[in-house]
């Protein structure tokens, strides 16, 4: 398996007036060719910061990579200069953003925005570029592509704009595509279409994808592997089946339990949620960051950071409950 991206022990901080926000605290992950890795977790857990670090797209300053390495297609991203970064961005790795309504330049025709990256990286002429723009729109199933390329973003609907963003991201056939909550700003029927489109294109082109989301339905739809993030750390990582059926971390369990389900909890009439709120990343706790909200928290959880405990092939979780000396308890939740 060809490795597209390796992140090792990445620490990213934001220097603010109030102090240093430790947004990403020791994340390690990897993505292989043709693989879809989902990063899930609640808002502010560091998913986007991690992903944007791959392109060094976090504004620096205030963002700062404190420690760790990022290797994208054999290139060191952390120590890359401006010129090298520009040659990576858009060509080796590209990104789809959350809100298609604001991610396109309102004063530039779609076609021109679509081909900007190809013209920049491959030096395509204007005529070839406009031909390519039509092909790209057809690739993301936009009808009347030849007329559409001349139009401006405000003449497109939200779903169509997200298709344009996808086409734009794919224009240089990148090795890695980062989709940062690509469906969050869309309504439900359009969400399904966009996910289907992404999955279909992924199969056609064998592009590796990092899918950032807090929608576990989207994860089930297309991810091969899943990394669950909490307070700047990956707390559990494994295959899609591992996460959905053999999850080992209480946070993963709590996330899954808070999915609205038709078959349970009809009596209370309320959606299940995780009590409490995530820790303050100005001063992250020295123990497990989830300890304060965890139903199984023990004394050690408050004091010491749990290491990763392997749970099988490619499946590991950072939780003291998995330590061999920990007394096994009957885990609560929906299944028992």
């Amino acid at each position: 398996m060809e490795r597209v991206l390796t992140i090792e022990d990445l620490y990213v901080s934001f220097d603010t007036y109030a102090g240093e926000v430790k947004a990403v605290r020791g994340v390690s992950l990897h993505v292989d060719k043709g693989e879809v890795l989902a990063i899930v977790g609640e808002s502010g857990c560091g998913k986007s910061v991690t992903a944007q670090s791959v392109m060094r797209l976090n504004p620096e300053p205030p963002a700062r990579i404190v420690y760790g390495s990022i290797t994208l297609c054999g290139q060191d991203v952390v120590h890359a200069g401006d010129k090298q970064l520009r040659s990576i961005r858009g060509k080796d790795v590209s990104m789809i953003f959350q809100d298609p309504m604001t991610s396109l330049n309102p004063t530039m025709p779609i076609g021109k925005q679509l081909t900007e990256a190809i013209r920049h990286h491959q030096g395509l002429g204007a005529a070839e570029a406009s031909q390519r723009a039509v092909e790209l729109l057809e690739q993301v199933r936009i009808p009347n592509a030849a007329q559409r390329v001349k139009q401006y973003p405000h003449e497109f609907s939200g779903g169509m704009r997200q298709r344009v963003m996808i086409a734009m991201a794919l224009s240089c056939s990148p090795q890695l595509l980062i989709a940062d909550e690509p469906t969050t700003a869309l309504d439900v029927t359009i969400q399904a279409q966009i996910i289907d489109l992404l999955a279909a294109i992924q199969k056609e082109t064998q592009t590796a994808i990092i899918l950032i989301t807090h929608d576990l339905g989207v994860v089930a739809g297309m991810a091969h592997r899943v990394a669950v993030m909490y307070a700047g750390k990956i707390v559990e990582t494994g295959s899609q089946e591992d996460i959905f059926y053999r999850h080992a971390h209480p946070y993963t369990e709590a996330l899954l339990n808070s999915l609205p389900r038709p078959d349970i909890d009809r009596s209370s009439g309320r959606l299940v949620s995780i009590p409490g709120s995530p820790p303050d990343l100005f001063q992250p706790p020295k123990g497990c960051p989830f300890a304060g909200r965890c139903s199984y928290a023990m004394k050690i959880c408050q004091e010491q950071m749990p290491p990763n405990f392997p749970q099988g092939e490619g499946h590991e979780a950072a939780c003291w409950l998995l330590h061999k000396d920990c007394p096994k308890t009957m885990r609560g939740g929906a299944k028992e």
Binding site: L85, S103, P106
Partner: protein
């Protein structure tokens, strides 16, 4: 087609605006104390009556207004009471000076203002930014009569003392005489434009589509030139319209300081001298300029931002 009907409609509104401007000017002139013929020497009542009759001021106000409107529609702004020359001729003689000075100042202010604003925004919180902002604050807070005098002192008096040559401080003949008045006139506008551009640019640079552009691997100058500037320029264009009208029709202060025979002096003098036709003439001239500049700005919007569709009818929008 939609644009044409929009423009026609706007011209209709413009005509209405100018009409009301004339009515108001006409009425307010009557409130001015004194009359045009009061001077150092006392004038007998007989002479006064004869003068009133000569300039038609003995007629009722509504009749005066109708006569004035009739002349105006025939392109005649009347005879200046003070100078005993047609207002048309006075404007035709002096406006070219004011217009040239105004255009120079406007172009200079727009180019350097936008440039400074962009630099300040890109190099935010650095020495460049502070320098540009300091310059802008100075420009906004120093009135043009002080700026004019300062420039004269520095570039004419001091330069002559230091280097043996200096820039001329008077008149409007040859390029050298035009430098200082242009600088004095443009400085305030340039500062305003710079501040506005900086604010607007900072807003645009924080937009998602700038991140999209960065994610494509574009260079900073490509991002600013292709994506940011066009989106950031709209508020600047908005203020440049009325500013253009003000600068082009002449400014009393700068023209007085540099002794330029422009139109600016007549705005002020005519009121002091109760020169009714001159007051109305200069006011209408300025009014038409202002309305036209606003219309040009609104049409420019449509070209800068494709989301703004200019149509003649209310329903389409």
């Amino acid at each position: 087609m939609a644009l044409l009907s929009y423009i026609l409609k706007r011209i209709g509104y413009a005509a209405l605006t100018v009409f009301f401007l004339m009515v108001l000017t006409f009425l307010m002139m009557q409130l001015l104390p004194g009359n045009p013929f009061l001077g150092d020497k006392a004038i007998s009542q007989v002479t006064m009556d004869a003068l009133y009759a000569k300039y038609g001021l003995d007629k009722p106000l509504w009749e005066q207004f109708l006569i004035y409107m009739n002349n105006f529609l025939h392109g005649d702004l009347g005879l200046s009471i003070k100078y005993n020359r047609p207002v048309n001729t006075i404007i035709a003689d002096s406006f070219p000076y004011s217009a040239e000075l105004g255009i120079r100042a406007l172009v200079f202010a727009a180019c350097f203002g936008v440039g400074l604003g962009v630099i300040a925004a890109i190099k935010r919180n650095t020495g460049w930014d502070s320098a540009a902002i300091t310059l802008a604050v100075i420009g906004v807070s120093i009135p043009s009569f002080i700026m004019g005098a300062l420039l004269q002192y520095l570039f004419a008096v001091k330069f002559r003392a230091w280097f043996g040559f200096g820039l001329p401080t008077m008149g409007w003949k040859g390029e050298a005489t035009k430098i200082l008045p242009t600088l004095a006139l443009c400085f305030g506008t340039m500062a305003t434009v710079a501040r506005l551009t900086r604010t607007s640019m900072l807003d645009v640079l924080g937009q998602d589509y700038i991140k999209t552009a960065r994610a494509k691997g574009l260079t900073d100058s490509e991002i600013v030139g292709r994506h940011a500037l066009r989106n950031a320029i709209l508020p600047v264009v908005t203020i440049l319209g009325p500013t253009a009208a003000t600068l082009l029709t002449g400014t009393f202060v700068v023209e007085s300081i540099f002794n330029i025979p422009g139109l600016g002096q007549f705005f002020v003098k005519s009121i002091r001298e109760n020169d009714y036709t001159m007051i109305a003439g200069t006011t209408v001239f300025y009014g038409i300029f202002l309305v036209a500049a606003t219309l040009v700005v609104d049409i420019l919007y449509g070209f800068i931002d494709p989301r703004i569709k200019l149509t003649g009818s209310r329903r389409e929008s």
